[in-house]
Every structure is written in C-alpha cells, then in structure tokens.
C-alpha cells in the first residue's frame, strides 16, 4: 500500500501531457490493486475540470452569500452592540455626574445645617450662661447683704458683750475688794481702774 504515492509521483508529470488514457494503460500494466483512475488522485488531471468548475460554483455562491447576507448582518449586529454600549456608557457617565452633583448639594446643605445648628446652640449656650451669671450675681448680692447684716449684728452683739464684760469686771472687782475687807470702794474708782486694766 505504500507503493502508490511513490508510483504516483513518477506518473503524475507524465499524466500532465499524456492525459489519463495513457496513464491508465500504464497503470494497468503496473497492476495496482484499486480501480478508478489508478493515479494518485490529487495528481490525476482528468478530474481537474470538474473540481475547478464545482469549486468555482460553490465558492462563488458562498462568497456572494457571505458578502451580501451574512457579513452585513453580523457587521450590523456588532455595530448595534457597539452603539448600544457606547450609549449606555454615556448614560452611565451622565447619571454619575448627576449623582455627584446631588452628593455635593447634599453635603453643602449638610454643612449649612451644621453651621446653623452650631449657631443656634451657641446662642442658646450664651443666653443660658448670661442668665446663670445674672442669677449668680443676684444670689451673691443677696448673700453679701446678708453677710453685712450678720457682721453688723455680730458687731453690735460684740459691742454689747464688751460692754457687759466691763460691768462684770467692775462687779467682780468690787466683790473681790469687798471680800478682801477693804471696805466700801467707790464705784467710779473701780470703773476707772477696770478701764485702765482692760486697756
């Protein structure tokens, strides 16, 4: 079976000029086992016209069909898809920028609201502080007043007490002098002596 290719290569060039009639006779003499043309089929020129004709017909129709029907269609599909994708991307970009703008507006509003809230809070705080300060001052003033009143009372009590201390000392001194047996001492002398001693 391996004889055939080598054999065909020898015969093929001859077959070109001599055509198949000679080739087939030469072939039968050599006695190959298969029927048909006997030549190595791809080099058998007798089937060339038929192959060329049918190739031209089939490939020609194929070319026309692809060129006029299939390729425009596939090209159209791809075109539509590309447009659609580009359009969708545009839309997405537009939506994104809208969303960005909305976020920016929201953030600005938020900042404003925050500032406003801070201002209101500050105001309230200040007010409360001032009120508290006023109240404190009032209370302090009251306390001061009470304090001075109390001090005044203390002073009078102290003065009274000091006055009492003088008379007690005079009484005590008179009693002591009487006990010592010095007789009756003048009350004015004692008072002068006590005054001199307490100074």
């Amino acid at each position: 079976m391996f004889v055939t290719p080598g054999y065909a290569e020898e015969v093929a060039p001859a077959a070109g000029e001599a055509h198949s009639t000679d080739a087939t006779t030469a072939h039968t003499e050599t006695g190959a086992e298969h029927g048909g043309g006997g030549l190595f089929p791809p080099f058998d020129t007798s089937n060339y016209p038929s192959q060329l004709l049918w190739l031209a017909i089939t490939f020609g129709l194929f070319y026309l069909f692809l060129k006029n029907v299939v390729l425009p269609r596939v090209g159209g599909i791809l075109e539509v898809r590309r447009d659609r994708i580009a359009g969708d991307l545009d839309q997405a970009a537009r939506m994104k920028s809208e969303a960005d703008a909305a976020v920016a507006a929201y953030e600005q509003e938020l900042a404003e609201a925050k500032a406003r809230a801070n201002a209101i809070g500050q105001e309230a705080r200040d007010e409360a502080k001032a009120e508290a300060e006023a109240k404190r001052k009032e209370v302090e003033a009251g306390l001061d007043q009470k304090l001075t009143a109390a001090e005044a009372r203390i002073a009078t009590i102290k003065a009274n007490a000091m006055k009492e201390v003088g008379t007690i000392a005079e009484d005590t001194a008179a009693a002591i002098v009487q006990a010592l047996g010095a007789g009756k001492v003048d009350k004015a002398d004692i008072a002068a002596a006590v005054k001199a001693a307490s100074k």
């Binding site: 089929p41 089937n47 192959q51 004709l53 049918w54 791809l78």
Partner: protein, 249 residues
C-alpha cells in the same frame, strides 16, 4: 482496499456531466464542496438570525470568527484592506469548514486536492495582481524594488523578489494541500495498523493499543492543523493583499 491510505482521496462520479469533451461530473468532491458551503452558510446564517444584542453561544461563535478575520485583515493590511474582507472571510471559512468536515471518517477532504487549494491560491494572487495594477498602475511594480537597496544589488534583489512573488501561489496551495494530505494518510495508516495487528490474535490486539492511541492523538492534532492551516491561509492572504494596497514596502 480498506487499508489503502490513498483510497480516501479517490474521486468518484456521482452524476456524470460532460461538456465539450471535458469531464464536469458532479463528484464526491463536488458534493463535499456543496456540503462545506451549505454547512458554513447555514451556521453563519442561522446563528445570527435572532440578531441578539446579547449573543447566544453559537451567535458569539459567528461573531468571533467575524472579528477574528476582521482584526487579522486590519492588522496586516490596514483599514483600506477591509474592502477585501468578504474574500478573506469566505476563504477562511471555506478552508476551515472543509478541513473540519474532512476529519469525519468516510468523509472526503476537499482541501486535500492540490487543484482546489491551487485554485484558491490563484484567486488570492490574481486578486492581488489585478487590484495592484488597477490601483497603482505600473507603480505596482515597485513591489519588486525594495527601498534602500544599493544600485548594484537591484537586479539581484528584483530577481529574488520576482521569484518569491511567483512562488507564493505554489507555497500557499501546497502548504494547505500537503498538510491535509499527510495528516489524513498518517491517520489512515495508524488506524490501519490497529485493524491489521488485531487480526493476529491476542498478542496483536495488545500490540494494536499503541497505534490506536496514536490514532486518537493524531485526530486531536489534525483538528488543530485544520484550524491552523485555515488561519495560515487567511493570514498569508491578508499579507499578500497588503502588497496590493501598499506596494512600496
């Protein structure tokens, strides 16, 4: 005959047609060309029929192939090259689907015939030449004279450029043809080992495990090759078309 690795490339007439002494029969090859075109068209047409904004899985396969070829062409030939987009896309899909259909057992591989791949390559080169002369007139011939070559080397370089230009359709077609041919022969040979070895009783059956494994592995490789060759064909088409658009290098 069952084990003959060449038999899968045999062309058999399904509907004999003869015009002017030439054989234009509808053969199994023609049938698989029709199958390739119908399968590819139906897939592309039906999967995109809902025109879903969010594509279904199959719709995204169609869209991916569209964008794959479009970016390939735009990278190689610039946005001016997009006028050739239907051609490049048709070539890519035709070669890819023909390669993939050929991987099914008992199916014929359209691209395993040199004349088919050569016709496709000539279509590409023909487009390059016709469009190149149409757009640039004789300025297209600047393609063969690269910039910045010292005067004394110009004849040599032009000769090399011309030869390389002429060999393009050959390399473009033979690459695809040879890849498909070799891959299918290899697959068939290894698969043939499995059946012929297992004919030798128990030892043969054990021995046939390795070729069976190879067959599975090569099938995977062939799927890759089917994609890769379609890709290579389309990429080279894009690069050649770039020459037609910008011949000044």
């Amino acid at each position: 005959m069952a084990n003959d690795p060449i038999h899968q490339f045999q062309i058999s007439k399904l509907i004999p047609i003869e015009i002017g002494g030439l054989d234009f029969s509808f053969t199994n090859s023609s049938a698989f060309m029709v199958a390739t075109v119908v399968a590819a068209s139906a897939f592309l047409f039906l999967t995109t029929s809902s025109r879903g904004l969010v594509p279904s899985r199959l719709q995204s396969v169609s869209e991916m192939s569209y964008e794959f070829v479009a970016s390939m062409l735009r990278d190689a030939a610039g946005s001016q090259g997009m006028r050739f987009f239907p051609l490049v896309f048709s070539l890519f899909m035709f070669v890819l689907v023909a390669n993939l259909i050929g991987l099914f057992p008992y199916f014929f591989t359209v691209t395993s015939h040199l004349i088919v791949t050569f016709a496709l390559a000539l279509l590409v080169i023909g487009t390059v030449i016709v469009y190149g002369f149409m757009k640039h007139g004789f300025g297209f011939l600047k393609l063969f004279v690269p910039h910045g070559v010292p005067g004394i080397l110009v004849p040599l370089v032009v000769l090399i450029e011309v030869i390389s230009f002429l060999s393009r359709p050959i390399s473009l077609s033979v690459r695809l043809f040879a890849n498909m041919l070799a891959g299918h022969i290899t697959l068939k040979v290894f698969a043939g080992f499995v059946t012929s070895l297992s004919a030798f009783g128990a030892v043969g059956v054990v021995g046939s495990i390795l070729p069976l494994f190879m067959t599975v592995a090569i099938t995977g490789l062939e799927v890759l090759v089917a994609f890769l060759q379609a890709y290579v064909f389309a990429v080279l088409t894009c690069m050649y078309l770039n020459d037609a658009l910008h011949p000044g290098h």
